[in-house]
Symmetry: C2
Subunit: 395 residues, 2 copies
């Protein structure tokens, strides 16, 4: 008999998906170029040519091992390449054994939750957060606790975090640069967080982990570097993916990097190997795993996202929106012009402007703008945005 | 704090892995060509050239979509290609919606267990079975029930199966051709099984599923075709992989095919989409998914496995082993020459013959021979095998 829990979930359609489907359907009527679809976080820039070249070369030079099984804990060469790159870049003494290749950041997170949490424990999310997290965590047996948004800066409300952490807290899940706000957690935030977690870990007599979800690490603005969470807190598992940085989300490739200073660092890889068996994973596809190892210093041309961000940010602010300036990603999260962001987004649809209300991200009253679209389209959307705000809200 | 359940699992080293490591270490001493390593089910033939060619062409002809996200339920074109091929081949009216691409058979099974089983229910395994199954199933909340081996034919002990099935039975997991025995379940066996399951389903008032794990479907001997389980029983989820048929286990690509006549067939795909979220899956890597779709009628040259089987089967029988003749795969499972197969396999090590005792496969007293090795090596191993049996067991 089909599993009734999952069957019941079929009813809960993703709002993002629904709006995206609206945009696609509307595109069929008026031409997709005329629909200002800001719904999906799907990279709009091509993969770099060198990535394509490496894939072709790997196949051409296959010595018979390219399509073979990898060792349970991943290809040693690739683990070493990633460790070397992270060590050089962030000054943390990663070794190959600290790197666990996975099929993207989703798989990295699936392993990380289970590695540092035991059913009955809690995991803390900082709102606004990626709307899929609760569904990802549900079958782990961990309970989700939510720190409400700091709407002023989209940093962390430490007053609430301190109240929420308790003896059952296994980990806090961070995502910086952040989906949906585009915010980068500052060094100050990360230091303060590390202090709090150290204090609480001592109080409760067990380690509390940070799971740091960093697929947007390479998309930062204003020439700044994103502070690396693991540099501030030893008990950190860093989850990474090439989905955004290489513009290759369909390739499903990424890794967990275990801070060598974290609790049980040397057995965290084998632990994740055990977890793989139970959730039907195995090493990620060999060809893209090898490409990841060779291209640790390469990204797609990500500059378009900053161009788009500036165009939109300036216009939103000029119209009078409350809005925190993003430090990275291809998202921003302005406050809607009425309390009900769902109503706001519905009214925008009449102008073929498709935004996602913040409710699913635990940010009611706000909406997410995913600007991984052609700059030309962003430019065409701006007068439409002004017209919408003027006609509907008198702004 | 690290998850203690998984930490405890680290102690339980896989016997197969340990023996394989012995073989590798011994290979460093005397040359790996002199170690008769029959431990691992790692395909020994190369992928077909056309598979390599397709991968290169896919990259060369990328229109910008090759590395992009697939829809949640998989690439429609590929789903259609697989449905067409299965429909043509087995006469079952599969449509695209019945195909759910996954990262290999391991991932296919992880989705299938969860789709048709609810925590608290039971899943039946037919011994001997692939030693990883219990670890795969453990986190699903399903309880494993085991039908003891039919040592005479390695078919199914229906007397025991009938006793074991009860109102909590969600599914029976079949693997034909079988790892570790190489046995193919006959049409007679499958008909009898279907009759029994129909009767029991009616008795308990709910459907009972077959999860049919078929990575070895294309490796069959004596010119025979493997009976297709779903042709005999409507409530069947077929789990497939290119690991063995295409000799590409590192590529992690396969699918679940949902019998269109099964319960809730049309929502089984969306159900598995929901399951993916919770276990960190997403669509499998796009490039190998597309290659799978294009090459549904292609396999590697699998004939070497039959050559190896015949050499080993004839020799084992000639020496006097009890042994069921395999119908497919690259495994066989003779009875050891003493009651304790672990002791038998240890004694064989002195002759650099590396076999896996059957205990982990729920077949104590037997041992598995994985003959996915070079034929030349098989030939060299035969006199050594005779010498071992003569010197140690007087055979």
């Amino acid at each position: 008999m089909i599993n009734q829990t999952y069957k019941a979930m079929l009813g809960n359609k993703s709002v993002i998906r629904e709006l995206s489907e609206f945009a696609t359907a509307r595109g069929k009527e008026i031409g997709y170029e005329n629909v200002f679809d800001y719904t999906l976080g799907n990279p709009s820039v091509p993969v770099p040519q060198i990535y394509q070249d490496v894939l072709i070369r790997l196949v051409q030079e296959d010595d018979g091992s390219l399509h073979g099984y990898a060792p349970t804990l991943g290809l040693p060469t690739v683990k070493q390449q990633i460790a070397d790159s992270l060590r050089k870049r962030f000054g943390i003494p990663y070794e190959a054994k600290h790197i666990f290749p996975t099929a993207g950041a989703g798989a990295a997170l699936a392993h990380a939750y289970r590695a540092v949490g035991t059913p009955g424990q809690e995991i803390v999310l900082v709102a606004p957060f990626f709307s899929e997290y609760p569904a990802y965590i549900a079958p782990t047996g961990l309970t989700v606790r939510i720190v409400e948004p700091d709407f002023e800066h989209f940093q962390i409300r430490f007053d609430r975090l301190e109240e929420i952490i308790n003896e059952k807290t296994a980990a806090i899940l961070l995502n910086s640069p952040n989906n949906p706000t585009g915010t980068v957690y500052t060094e100050e935030t990360l230091k303060k967080l590390a202090d709090l977690l150290h204090r609480k870990a001592e109080e409760y007599g067990h380690h509390i982990f940070i799971i740091s979800d960093e697929p947007y690490r390479e998309i930062s603005f204003d020439g700044k570097t994103v502070p690396y969470t693991a540099s501030f807190y030893e008990d950190t598992l860093t989850c990474y993916s090439l989905s955004k940085s290489m513009s290759a989300p369909g390739d499903r490739i990424g890794y967990v990097a275990v801070n060598p200073a974290c609790e049980d660092a040397d057995i965290m890889g084998p632990i994740m190997g055990q977890i793989s068996r139970g959730i039907g994973h195995n090493c990620p596809t060999g060809i893209v795993t090898r490409a990841m190892g060779e291209l640790t210093e390469v990204t797609a041309d990500l500059s378009v996202y900053e161009t788009n961000m500036n165009l939109l940010y300036d216009t939103f602010r000029d119209i009078g929106f409350e809005l925190v300036r993003p430090g990275g990603t291809f998202y921003m999260m302005p406050k809607a012009l009425e309390d009900d962001a769902v109503a706001f987004c519905k009214k925008a649809l009449a102008y073929d402007l498709v935004f996602v209300p913040g409710d699913g991200f635990c940010a009611p009253g706000y909406f997410r703008v995913a600007y991984c679209v052609q700059t030309e389209k962003v430019e065409r959307s701006l007068p439409v945005l002004r017209k919408f705000c003027k006609e509907v809200y008198g702004k």
